[in-house]
Symmetry: D2
Subunit: 328 residues, 4 copies
């Protein structure tokens, strides 16, 4: 039987994403609603080990729902990968009478939480906070929607100058292992070509496509490239390759970079964060543990953390096809 | 047996919404992809009756994916409500050899399309374009996501000044019959209270809530109100009511208004529009008719127009509860 | 000879404007740079009377440069209009060893400061913070540039929907006594007509202009109206008037309202705030008093507060002419 | 005596900047107002040589005031650098009965115009369109204000993630020869250090500054770097240098790039463009030639193109000092 939860700790870990603050706020306010205590843990697992704790109430999270980043800070923790580190963390939790943890982060965050849970049978509940949308068990991760808008708005600006000058731009967006951002931002920005890790378009087909595009009278082009695309070339190498193999294009590169992680969260991400925060706390209160809160078919669902880690987020094949139709 | 489709007409009708242009673009490009003709029909059913047609190809829809409004214009048509008007419309379609119609709009647009289909057995396919998200058979309507972001960004600005002055603001958002925008924008903007048509909060409870909020040290408040909320008072009357019945608040009103219909669509709406446009055209090509293209559980689905019209879009009860927890 | 300044107080008063936080930050950091103490005074003159003071250092103003509103809050103070109130304020300053005040606000704020200075010979320095740009002695007030961008972005959205529906919109922007916002936002948004307090266009000419516009094939129109325009009608009355006197227009109203006061400040306002904050503190340190810091010809200048209050900000006649050429 | 002007040509050339479309619109509408003809020339001097002309009226420039880029396209022209190329251009102008040219662009554009004027005594009038603000004779160039806002908004987002992770970011902004963008965006974004071409801060002082910043408890930092700063290292080399010479910082790089050239112009740039367009056309009509329209002390002024080219835009020393005070 699950012990009764009287105090919950919340931390953010891994790469930050827009909506993390809104999720922290929701966790804190749900605790207040249920009249249990809430503690903010700074710098993820590092703060857990260092005992960097702060009691939080509704006032602590005032005016943060619209802010990017995470007020609890984030960090990677090598120490938490060691049994010694986790032991200290556990002792800190016990000493502070914390009975459950809400972990906001991605794959690495969840892996740490799972190991910790297995060692100490400590109740943990995950919230998927990452812009990459690369976690299975949830249709959307927290921050993904905002990152797409940021990417599309930046590409809109780049298109202004590309069109004015008849230029070809390679625009690199985030996504080392999965092409969700590239595919969606590419379709959203009306890109002429999209290169993602899941599909090996091949350099030949890229050249062909650019030639066809040029022949049809298009004088400027945007090619959106995921960091981890499968051509084996990064955007700068792609530029060189096209410069060498294709005449009459003025080729440029833009790397959107970390900008995509920041910014005020979209309404979608703020609402998702609020729902996930409520669900995470109430699930802990109901005695659940080792789940990630996901959104599936517009509903809040619990999904085993273990499956979330091992699972794979698949690219939407229908959208790949849509992108091909839109760019022909 | 469905006749073979060789030329498709597309129109936008009813209140405009962000993403309509992206949907028109997708319809046009999908026709080009399948090597069939496409015709833009201006001013909705009015243009159908007036024969205000224009052939469209990929070039016609260049650089419109990121624009608000609709390049095809929209209008309400009293004439299309008469058999005589619809007869002229039909003759125009036959004369122009148009074999199928994609109708982008809301409830009224679909009703017109359904009647027209029944009279002339003319293939029609609907795309739900409206910011209100009030159509059943689709988890999201086109433009809804953008409208939420517009509302939340405006309320963020209002909060800046509300906080600086310890003021109470009643902010009216769109939504005459349904509270989706109010509920989501309210949660997203961290409103202290949300008034929607689906729930009769009652004025007494509103006063109580504001008193409680004040007692807890909150010195400024945002109350988000749907146009059609059930208190029976509009925002200006609400202001007067609170002025009379609650001391110590400097109460103001903000009506967000038509701004919510415009603006560059969010990435979500652009992608949704692209998917729906492809699906609408390909469904017509496959011989389908009388359906609306919806998104359900992240997938494109056909939904009978008749059910879409008669159905009702229900407020998310879980989110109502989340809003109560967040505002306590 | 001016006494040596060792501690400076800073307050914001009157209507808030974007950039006030950036100015507070600059005041605090300039004090730190010169190794003198700085005290934040909450809620303007109210906090001065209530002794609502807080010592501030570089950390206190971290991460506020990009935020709308004012972290020091603002309020109107009836008590400060009385000699008794000012006496208490003065005693609080003496008790807290504050030797100089930076006053961020508009006309009313400066009037209060001037009276206070005359009674107690207390060093005061003003920073013009108001979105209305209605203060003489400075080419721009703090927040004005941001408010213009906010207004123009909102009108851009309204134009999307106006164009889609062939509608005429009356858009009311702030500006009770001066038309700077209306004139600049009107030109910036490409409005078809602009009504400002300084020019009595007259209703007849408005109708003529709309008729001409319609005759030339324009099917939608935006008329930007300053709150205090001289037609003697507010936007709702204007709508009714046009409805009655002009056929074939679907007329709507949009009131932008308090949204214009909030939002993250533009780069211009952040830089202006930083420069003004430095100048205000250093001028006090140099023994100056009773001046407002203004920007004239791109340079920081001191301008007597007395003249700033009595002066009048004139509408740019050349820009009025530009607006006429653009809208013909 | 100047010949009477009956037809004006307008072109955009060099790097595009936000507000160019608004300036083209103003030129076209001012011509319409004065009932003279106007011709758009595509792709700058290239189109002048190719005879790529199009008559323009008020309708041609509808709905472009808010768009980035330039509808007339821009290009660099090697041919216009040759007497033969300019001869063809002149013949095209004569053949098309164009009596005057409005040239929207930067340094290179103006140099071409000046040579052309000297050879053929052809009336030319310049409008300074470039984001770099590097032209003397005008307090602001067209597009500069928008570029600053774009840069600051991007850095705000980067700061979100920098703060969450205690990271140091080198952010490169545009400005090969002048540091206006870096200095203003740096102050506006609250950067901890700003590197510009005009001041050789030196790497030692940079390290010292970062050390001091760290010692004072700051855990994240933004260093804004102009493309052409004088450390002799680009942002990637700076990162490597700091990685090697400073412990305990997680250093990252962001290059804002061409995004800064695009986007919807700010209200300031739209108004400035409108004023400059009117002034340029009316100055040609008054028989003036070989001037650039500048804004000086908030007024439209004519400035000899020759001086504009040879002149140098100086960094604001007062603002350099403000930046030092803000970052100490």
């Amino acid at each position: 039987m699950a012990q009764k939860i009287r105090k919950i700790g919340v931390l953010t870990s891994g790469g930050d994403s827009p909506g993390m603050n809104a999720a922290v706020r929701a966790v804190v306010r749900t605790c207040a609603y249920h009249k249990i205590d809430c503690v903010g843990i700074y710098r993820g697992y590092e703060g857990l080990i260092d005992g960097d704790f702060e009691p939080m109430d509704a006032r602590s999270v005032r005016d943060i729902i619209n802010r990017g980043g995470t007020m609890l800070k984030s960090a990677r923790s090598d120490r938490f990968r060691t049994p010694e580190g986790r032991k200290i963390a556990y002792d800190n939790l016990v000493e502070n009478k914390i009975d459950g943890l809400v972990l906001i982060g991605g794959d690495g965050t969840f892996t740490g939480g799972l190991i910790f849970n297995r060692e100490y049978n400590f109740p943990v509940m995950g919230i998927p906070g990452t812009i990459d949308n690369d976690i299975s068990g949830t249709d959307k991760t927290l921050g993904y929607d905002t990152a797409l808008n940021t990417a599309v708005e930046a590409i809109d600006k780049i298109r202004d100058t590309a069109s004015s000058h008849n230029r070809l731009f390679f625009v690199e967006v985030m996504g080392r292992d999965v092409g969700h951002i590239a595919l969606n931002a590419g379709v959203g920005a009306g890109a002429e070509e999209i290169l993602i890790p899941e599909e090996n378009l091949g350099l030949d087909r890229l050249l062909e496509s650019l030639l066809r595009s040029k022949a049809s009278g298009k004088t400027s082009s945007i090619v959106v490239v995921a960091e981890g695309d499968k051509t084996g070339k990064n955007v700068f190498e792609l530029k060189d390759y096209v410069d060498e193999n294709l005449d009459g294009y003025d080729v440029r590169v833009a790397v959107l970079g970390h900008m995509q992680r920041g910014g005020s969260p979209s309404c979608y991400d703020r609402v998702l964060a609020s729902r996930m925060g409520v669900k995470a706390v109430e699930s802990l209160l109901e005695g659940e543990s080792n789940y990630m809160v996901g959104i599936q078919h517009e509903k809040m669902e619990l999904y085993p953390i273990e499956k979330a880690i091992k699972g794979k987020s698949h690219i939407n094949k229908e959208l790949v096809r849509v992108s091909e139709i839109m760019t022909t």
